[in-house]
Symmetry: C2
Subunit: 395 residues, 2 copies
Amino acid sequence: MEKGGITYPEGFLAAGMCAGIKKKKEHDLSLLLSSVPCVAAATFTTNRFKSYSLLWSRKNIKNPIRAVLVNSGNANTCNGQESRRNTDLLMGRLAGLLKAEKKELLFASTGTIGKKLPFQVISDALPELMGRLGAANHQEAARGIMTTDLAMKEFHSGTGIKGRKKEVVMGAMAKGSGMINPCMATMLAFITTDAVIGREDLQEALSGAVEDSFNMITVDNDMSTNDMVVCLANGQAGNPAIRKGSSDYSLFASCLKDVCRQLAVKIASDGEGATKLIEVRVKGAWSSGDARRIARKIAGSNLFKSAVYGCMANWGRILSSAGSVRARMDTSRTEVSICGIKVFNGNPLDYNEPELVSLMAGSRIEVCVDVKKGNFEATGWGCDLTEQYVKINKE
Amino acid sequence: MEKGGITYPEGFLAAGMCAGIKKKKEHDLSLLLSSVPCVAAATFTTNRFKSYSLLWSRKNIKNPIRAVLVNSGNANTCNGQESRRNTDLLMGRLAGLLKAEKKELLFASTGTIGKKLPFQVISDALPELMGRLGAANHQEAARGIMTTDLAMKEFHSGTGIKGRKKEVVMGAMAKGSGMINPCMATMLAFITTDAVIGREDLQEALSGAVEDSFNMITVDNDMSTNDMVVCLANGQAGNPAIRKGSSDYSLFASCLKDVCRQLAVKIASDGEGATKLIEVRVKGAWSSGDARRIARKIAGSNLFKSAVYGCMANWGRILSSAGSVRARMDTSRTEVSICGIKVFNGNPLDYNEPELVSLMAGSRIEVCVDVKKGNFEATGWGCDLTEQYVKINKE
């Protein structure tokens, strides 16, 4: 196994293992370590109930960061006030082992809300986890953060930005599946880069990238208490510092957005019970906000999601969703197409229904809605709603 | 069959029949007629895409009203600009038959969006429909407005307000099942009363009643293009006019709210695929808006709805829903109980899990959330999310 995913940039090591947090014998603990302190940026859930792990990370995010510990199988949320103290103790133990300071560590958790986190189990597993650290172990780490995900979610890419030592690159891993909701930082995602960049510039690039990627996906309209997206930059490429306003910044921000979109689409495709990815492009909107609200609403409509599952071109459900949000639209000229076939332009259009049904049997359903009010556009992603989603979540 | 439902108040006749709008041979056309012109009030969907039937009714709602025509099986929405003209022609034909004026008629439709409405079929059925009018035929009318509803939805009650001729009473019918979303007038509901009351007072009483009933239910977070709630008052009880500020008005408004709540709960219980009613009571909120947002969010959470279906006391999903809306709450003291058993008070509580699971096997699941920030409360209703919901809506 070569470098890739989260260890693709220079100077990052990763590990993953089965520590015994989940009932099933599956990977449930991951560690990401940088050889030097990183500049860090993050976005966090806006849910009022927050994970103790997330509160820990939010407190430290402006510090230089050395490592990120992530557990799956337990959200460390609403599980008793003593969990805050236990979180602190656990981070202290990790800092000791890494010869780092507690304030240089981030922590993220994902899983069931309200269950006691087995801190001792995790603490006992830390030495073994550290022993497994390696640049080749990115897939182990990506497995360790999965919950109901069926697919591992990794991505890496170059940026075209030249450094003294090497080209600046990016790597990433994420988990998703359930409790995926737009409007804020959603799910867990970790992005590494060896770029030299300042904290505020990194944060601005990340916030913009998240806005057009993770904040535009929905699986079930349910917002998590644990969502966070973290980006670490360790400067190992030796490039001239990337500063806002420069062409390198534009390049970096656009690469970061691409990485985030790749992960976001992976998360939507692998939504709980999903068989199809839904991509909704809204054009002709009065404002960016209007375009985003419409795209997210359609991608999140239970009725349209069910229709997509059944390969039904029920465009009435697209219109009723679009019309239900606060957004300007010319309802008499609004156009809708599904999988490239135009079905509505203010009036219902004749189309080859068997052809459309067969296109909808594919695994990626593209919807385009032009609301004829302006020049803004947005893209949102979701997945179909299946009996399997209900089965997963009733158990 | 005696008077009841929509014909319970004096002076109302109803009819329902199978006109041939639906593919299956089922009731799909209903008529409500008052012997004298009625004072009318209504609330309509706020969806930007609106049914031509709804636009017709909205135009006439301030006039004295004689009759309401309702069809199921077709929404008369986004089905071509000529449908507006056809709606006008159809209403002209009905007015001729009833010897009424077009402006004295309301029209409502429910069913698939975007299909041509078979106006000729409806027009041809009108004479037979009129021939079936009778005070005993309220159930026929209630059947004629059903779509995926499994149960007919009717209600009637007295008010305690004495008239010269008789006590003021109310009757009602509704349909629901899918595309049921809070935040606005939802679904179709028709309420009759023989009260003497002015139009503005009736509208105010109705708006208030809808706010705490139909606007507090959700089946799938999908807003319809056809929703309307109509209340007709024909004055046949001969009571002294009910005026805002009087004790009779309070009595009338409270009875109207009760009628609306009865119907709203029937609609939530009979949500598509539902096996259980979910009732969410929020207490201790900073404002009425906060309480309402929290209650609706919990009642509409796909994750919590799936858990209820599986009789799982997954209170983490209640907290994450509550925390995701714009509302003040004391997260460290928030209390949650399910079916009367307290499960969280800022910390997870020990409770008898088998007992709670067996209580959750019932058909009505009560959730109470106290957010410890003030004195406002609200109640919202929803239903569980089942494989059957997906099956109904993928076909």
